[in-house]
Structure formats: C-alpha cells, structure tokens
C-alpha cells in the first residue's frame, strides 16, 4: 500500500525526520489560507498523487506571492497529471500540499528498500539528488551507495559512516547530521513494516542540515493489520476501482488491454494462462486469481468484473482443482451463469480432483455459449478461436 507525500511527511515528523512545514488542502481557498498560515516568503504548490515524476509533469510549482499560490492551486487542482509512472491516462489531482520553500545548497537521494537477495533492508544514497534514480543506476552506477542493514543488529555507527563518506561529506557536523537522519529513517522503516521509503531530493541547507523535500512510502500489505494508523491512510481514489471491488471478494484482479477474460485459481497458473493465450495468438484482457476456494459466489463476481470490460470477446475459465473438487466448481459456474448475464462464449477447463464428473455436469447443463476445454492448451486454443470469431 502506498501513501501520499503529505502523509509520509506526517510520519517523518513523528520520527523527528526534518521536513519543510506544509499543509494539505483540497480547495483553492484553503490553499491560500494555508500559505498565509505558513507565512512565506516563498511556497511550493504540490500535487498529491501516488506517482513519481510530478515535477516534470507540471504538478509541482514555486509561488512567490499569495496571488501566485492561488493561481497555481487553481491550475494544478483538478488537472489530470501525466508522469512516467501514471501511464498515458494520468491521474486526477484532488489534493494539494502547500509547503514552505527551502534553502537548498545541494540535493541528494536517499531511500530504504527491501533487498530481496540479501533479505534485509538496504539504504541507498546518491549525490545525484533530484534525478530519476533508475537513470542514475543505469548510467552512473558508481554514484549510488548501498548500505545493507542486518535487522538482527540494527543501524550501527559504521552504517552511518559508510553513508556519510560515500556522499563525500567532509564536514563533521554534516556527517553527524546525515547519520542521525538515516538512523531515524531506518527506525521509521522498521517500526512501521514499510516496504519502501524514498526521499528525492533530500536537500542540504546552507547551515549543513538535511531536510526531506519529498517523501514517498509504501508498506507491506501483510503487516497492515498491526498498524491501524497506517491502514487508515489508504486512499482508495488512487487505486483501480475494479481491483478494489475484486479484493472485497478475495479475488486478485489486474486489468490488461486484450480481448480474452481469464478466471483462474492460483497466481502462477493465472499468469501462465495469460502467457498461453498470448502464445496461441490471442490477447489476455485481465489477470484474475479466484484463490484456493472458488465457489458460485466468487465465480459469479469474477464474471461480473471481467464483463465490465467492453473489450472482452470470450472468457477462459481455467481451474486446476486440488483440494477443491471440480464438480463443485462446475456447479458454481452453472449457478454463476444464472446470477450474471454472460453474453460472450465461455471456455471452461477443469482439471484435477473429480474432473470427469465436472465435465459431465457441464455437458448436461446445456448452457449456450459454454465450451469445454480438455486441458490448458486446448482450452486456451478454443478461447482464442472463440474471440477471433466474435
């Protein structure tokens, strides 16, 4: 789960990680009031969306007067911001963060992420602040410093020194400042089961102090149960409504741009089914994992979500019944076609426990539009053919 910059900065403040003062607003009027309260003399008006690259997309701008704050708030609030992370459709800006301007001497990059290979948190830093860090990694990898922190010992002095010397800081006060800053950030990361904290840019002021000018945080969904304060920061308007709806029923859904709707049990087989459709010359319209306990209700919901997509010309239901018996799933599918109006051909492949009984049930049900697939390859081929005919 990701949160907004203003929310990340609330958490930073809780851990004494320095940030410029700022106020989140949802109207132009409040933007001006916030700017008055902050006092100026300069302000930054920032679009709050869950995507990076906001500055380049025109969602972050500097104001030198209250009139300019009003003008920029008017311009940015309600705009559809397109960045390299939003996709071409962009994201609607519904919230602004009005922030004090900062005294910037130099810009850095600092993040804490999970290193899957080392199986521990990794602090990454660079003197190339404000740049797209993926480009820095690609073009000048030597400018990225990585410091893994073994959680069994936690953040030690040597971690901090590696970071300070890596960032070429020679002033002892500045070294102490960055070490304290990184230590607090690591503590914030661990305490809250974060998946990622990224500050880009981190700025050094004329006084040699470090301030988080930006803040991005993501969290481990599996740990949200023990962090109700963070779970409450979830902004559903930033997420795909179909994915949110599917999740309510225990379904894992991701929309794609093809023509064949897929309903599968298990994430690996769901991806494998998409790949097979592609291999057979078709295009998958979605990823949909109905989970280990597919029943009539979840299957019906699955059909409903898939059919909302007007591009869908055929559906491929691919279930490998393990503990769940295929005959029960077959009955579930028949029930589901009664609940939901399925108006495209549906290819059903059921394998595993009680598959022959299931095939018999489907055959006898006499549902128009229903085609039985013998195995994964056969089912995918029939779905591709059905979509091509439609």
């Amino acid at each position: 789960m990701n949160i907004h910059e203003y929310q990340a900065k609330q958490l930073f403040a809780k851990y004494d990680v320095p940030t410029p003062k700022g106020i989140m607003v949802e109207s132009v009027k409040d933007a001006v009031i916030a700017a008055q309260e902050l006092g100026g003399p300069i302000w930054v008006v920032k679009a709050q969306i869950h995507a990076g690259g906001r500055g380049l997309g025109g969602g972050v701008k500097l104001a030198k007067t209250l009139d300019e704050v009003e003008e920029l708030a008017n311009e940015i609030l309600g705009m559809t911001l397109v960045t390299h992370q939003t996709g071409p459709e962009g994201k609607l800006v519904q919230k602004l963060y009005i922030e004090d301007g900062a005294d910037i001497q130099s810009e850095y990059y600092l993040s804490v992420v999970l290193d899957r290979k080392l199986e521990m948190p990794l602090i990454m830093a660079s003197t190339e602040g404000g740049m797209n860090i993926e480009d820095v990694a690609e073009n000048t990898p030597e400018k990225i410093i990585t410091v893994p922190v073994d959680p069994t010992i936690g953040f030690q002095g040597f971690h901090g020194r590696e970071l300070a010397f890596g960032l070429e800081l020679t002033d002892k006060a500045e070294q102490a400042n960055i070490i304290t800053f990184a230590h607090k950030l690591y503590t914030l990361y661990m305490d809250n089961d974060a998946e990622m904290i990224e500050i880009n840019p981190l700025v050094k002021t004329g006084k040699g102090e470090f301030i988080a000018l930006d803040g991005k945080m993501g969290f481990d969904n599996s740990a949200l149960g023990r962090h109700p304060d963070i779970a409450a920061m979830r902004d559903l308007t930033e997420e795909d409504p179909d994915e949110v709806e599917a999740a309510k029923y225990g379904l894992s859904y991701v929309a794609l741009d093809g023509e064949i709707g897929c309903m599968v049990n298990g994430a690996g087989l769901a991806m494998g089914t998409m790949d097979t459709i592609n291999y057979m010359g078709g295009t998958p319209a979605n990823f949909l994992d109905v989970g280990g306990s597919a029943n009539a209700e979840t299957v019906a919901k699955g059909f409903e979500i898939i059919l909302k997509n007007p591009n869908v010309k055929a559906i491929f239901v691919n279930i490998f019944g393990g503990i769940v018996r295929c005959d029960r799933i077959a009955n579930g599918i028949i029930e589901a076609t009664k609940i939901t109006d399925v108006n495209v051909p549906v290819v059903v492949r059921l394998d595993g426990t009680n598959a022959p009984e299931a095939a018999e049930i489907l055959k006898n049900a006499n549902i128009a539009n229903l085609i039985v697939g013998d195995d994964l390859g056969d089912g995918a081929a029939k779905a591709v053919a059905a979509a091509a005919k439609a």
Partner: protein, 290 residues
C-alpha cells in the same frame, strides 16, 4: 530415493487443532505421511486426529523425535512459530500460511539459518515425495511416483506441471513448492543440487515467475553444477510492469525481474525453456524418451 522427506520422516504440525491445520493434517495422514503429533498452546495433553497435542514445539520434539514441522498458524504468528521450531531443533519447517509480514520472515529466516534449520515457504503448497510423504496442501493423487523432480514458486502450476508429467507416463520423485513471497526459505539453488544428487531423479522441472532474481541465480548454478536435463517455465511474460500479480513477490520493478530476462538466462544455461505451461509435459517426454 527422493529429497528432503520420505515415508520415515517424522512430522509435527504447528497450528494442529485450527481449521486449516486439522483439515490438511488429516489429508496428510490419509496420504501416509508419518504425522507424529502437533502443537497448540494450552491444548497439550489432548489428542487430535489420533495424535498427541503438545503445548510447545520443544515438548513435541522431545516426546516424538520429530524432525520436520508443518506450520499452519495465522500470518501474524508465523515468525514466532518458525523461530520456536528452530530453537527446538527441528531440521525442516514447511510454512504453508499465506500473508506473513516480510519483516517477521527476515528475522525468522536469519534465526533458522543460525540454528541450521531449513525452511520451505511461506505461502507455498509444501513438499511431497510421491506415494510416500505429503507435507502440505497439494492434491496427493496427481503425484505418481517417477523420475522427475519439480520445483515451483506457484501452487497450481506445481499441480499443472506434475499432472502433465504423469499424463505423459512419467512420474515425480519429489515436488517442492517454494512459495511466491519476497523472502522465502529453500530456493532453486539449494534444491537443484539435491535433485542432482538424488539417484532416482533423471530430469528436473523448474517453474518460476516474474519478480526478484532467484531464477537468474539458478541459471548460473545450472550452468556450473547441474548435469541432469532441466525444463523451465517462467510465468508472467504478459504481466504489466509495476503491478503485483497475486503473489506478493511477483512484481516487475523498473526493468528488473522480467520473464524475458529469466527465460534468456535459463536458455543460455542449456535449459529447455517452454513458452507456455501447456508444453511442460511434452518437453519432459522429449527429453526422457531420447
């Protein structure tokens, strides 16, 4: 022969008396797995499914001589359960539970390693040595005994792959579902050498997916150490970037962890890579009938 577990392996179940634990432990017992007891705090001294229940893993190990634990406790307690098993001298913990916090697994895996305890999972179907010992939630009847070893991140693709291999007239030595979380226990690089050393395993099926670089590391190891033929499938060739595909670990971040780079690395290591999982059985047959 087989790897890791066989008909003599003594297994206990943590989270034995819960709904999931009860159902699946029962299925394992029916399959023939030598389940010697279970652990549920405050239910020590009782009997469940005809086996003794203990309050702690240490008690269970002392009284039964178990070496393997199958873990079904709720997600928030997985870290604790794994560390308890390690402390009690369990040699292999098979963690079925889905949704354990990543931070807990970092600590639990580090502690398991310190105590020389191997782990499989979390968020996995478990491990099965065909017709001998099933420790997990897979449908036992599709795994016929044979000469193909199978390693997979995905549960249902494990079943799909095993089913195709058996339908072609071959069978399985041991199948291991290693799980799809960001941090997992035994992975390709620990299990591939076990299959290499197992005299009954003649070919290996390896099923991976997008995210992380375990498959890339495996390609390197296969090139250097594995002489037995390997068939591989990588799920998620058509998955979009930056989206988590069901499994917490299945995500392409930036340009890293794509199916394409994994498939190319494996092909370069001499692995027979299939583009669709529907081709796994055929590819195994092609290799073994030579």
């Amino acid at each position: 022969m087989s790897i890791l577990v066989n008909k003599d392996t003594k297994v206990i179940v943590q989270g034995f008396t819960g709904k999931e634990g009860t159902f699946h432990a029962g299925q394992c017992i029916d399959y023939g797995t030598n389940i010697v007891g279970g652990v549920t705090p405050n239910k020590g001294g009782q009997e469940h499914l005809g086996k003794p229940v203990f309050n702690t893993v240490a008690d269970a190990v002392k009284n039964t001589g178990a070496t393997v634990s199958m873990i079904f406790v709720p997600p928030a307690f997985v870290g604790d359960a794994v560390m308890e098993a390690a402390e009690a001298g369990i040699e292999l913990a098979v963690i079925i539970t889905e949704g354990a916090p990543v931070k807990d697994m970092q600590a639990a895996k580090a502690y398991a390693t310190k105590h020389n305890m191997k782990t499989i999972g979390p968020n996995c179907p478990g491990i099965i040595t065909a017709e001998e010992c099933k420790i997990g939630i897979m449908p036992g009847m599709i795994f016929k005994k044979g000469n193909v070893g199978l390693i997979s991140k995905s549960g249902t693709l494990t079943y799909e792959g095993a089913n195709q291999v058996c339908n072609e007239g071959y069978g399985i030595t041991t199948a291991v579902g290693i799980g799809g979380d960001p941090i997992i226990g035994l992975s390709y690089n620990q299990i591939l050498p076990m299959f290499e050393a197992d005299p009954d395993t003649e070919a290996i099926v390896m099923i991976g997916e997008i995210g992380g670089d375990l498959e890339i590391q495996a390609a390197k190891l296969i090139k250097e150490q594995i002489t037995k033929p390997v068939v591989a499938f990588i799920a998620g060739q058509t998955a979009p970037k930056g989206k988590t595909m069901g499994h917490a670990g299945a995500i392409v971040s930036g340009s890293a962890g794509t199916a394409k780079e994994k498939m190319e690395a494996l092909e370069a290591a001499g692995v027979k890579v299939v583009v669709s999982p529907a081709e796994i059985g055929k590819a195994v047959k092609e290799i073994l009938s030579k």
